[in-house]
Amino acid sequence: MAAARGLNPDVALQLLHQSGHGPLPGEPMSDVWLQALIDALVDLSSRDALTGLANRRSFELALAREIDRVARSGEPALLLTLDIDHFKRVNDTHGHAAGDLVIQAVARALADTVRPMDLVARVGGEEFSIVLPNCPAAFGPQVAERIRKRVARSPVDIAPGETVGVTVSVGGAFAPQWVRTTARLWMDRTDLQLYRAKSEGRNRCCLEPTAVPLVSAEEKGLLFAASTFQDLT
């Protein structure tokens, strides 16, 4: 019997109760019940309390998994980082409760706009990241733009009869295919694009330009056509 092992689940149960979790299945302290408790705690510790999105911890775990997958499969994966524009202004003008409502509304807009396989996380105060596995390079700009527009056209109710318009700046970069990058490098590249989006006037998306083959086969053909140096190759 678990109680005999000296386990004390009281604080854990309080925490779950406070977060709105329902009763656990099975006989209290049974194996089924304990496993459910562990699962519920794991879920709790991987979510952001304010928005219910993945928190920074689980985001970093997901990012590491995605890096591993891309290195093995060569599938394209996109990382987006979003920051609410002039968020401090919302806090200063309307108060922190309004700020929280804005963050929650943006979180909902993001979660509603992406595919089920994508991971949306709140990684900082007003900063979000989205990992998009298997996202072809050609679709990157469309996806980012769709998210930006969705936020821009959804004003947030902060008080009865009072709404504020919210916009986000979006930076993005694809993981290098077939190559094992690091989370730090990938996030840095994305941050650089976010910085670009901010400095270019906010409420816009900047994706790192993808390397397209610069020189076509046709151009190469002509470039090497000179008989003068053909025999040297």
């Binding site: 840095d188 910085y195 190469k220 470039l223 040297l232």
Partner: protein
Amino acid sequence: MSPATASDPAALVTSAAGALITAVTSGKGGVGKTFITANLAAALARQGERVLVLDADLGLANLDVVLNLYPKLTLHDVFTGQTRLEDAILPAPGGFSVLLAGSGMIEYSRLTPTVRDQLHDVIVRVRPRFDRVLLDTGAGISDVVLYTISLADEVLIVATPEPTSLTDAYATIKVLATTQPRRLIRLLVNQVQRAGEARAIRKQLQLVIDRYVNAGLDKPVMIELLGEVPYDASVRESVIKRELLLDGAPGSAASQAIVAAAAKHLAG
């Protein structure tokens, strides 16, 4: 420096009086870019020019290796505020000055706003003190390389007759043509096997550019041949001995070709 000037670095750099700034780039690595830059600088210095070579290969600098210099003070120290610019400018063998990138510059291999401002600032400050500044850029067409080139008055592309080198040289020219207003690009062909080979290469490059690049431009990009340096066993020897070719084998064909290229560069 005020933020207003930092927002338009190229305009400020080119409007200031002082040295002619030449960015030396190659697209592909391993074509002898740094070797050519160092010896070209020595040849220019012999003509009485005050020459500075600035190691702008921020990620993977090797000018120090070519010149056999182990400086205590580098561009990295200037960027991080640990030394004054004038203390990091060192005399190099060959009678020119160098500003070496130094280790630790890996943090600067990405074009962040800090790197932009600091690189720009350094170039503005060295310009009045020299007649010629050669910027030894990194290989590839990264944003740092493109930005460094944008700070220069002119660009010199070093290539070899190898197809991979020509492809990368062409790709570099193509990117420059579409992202910068520059329309004259100088070419130096290294390791040529036959006299006159560089002329044929220039002609072919120009042909491809005319067809695939210039067609979409209002003012065409022109490639001008600065010179050709023949394949020469003494080059390998001096590289391994880590001395300037102009010092180690002044009579060699390659050495004379570099002196000739320097003379042409001086003539404009």
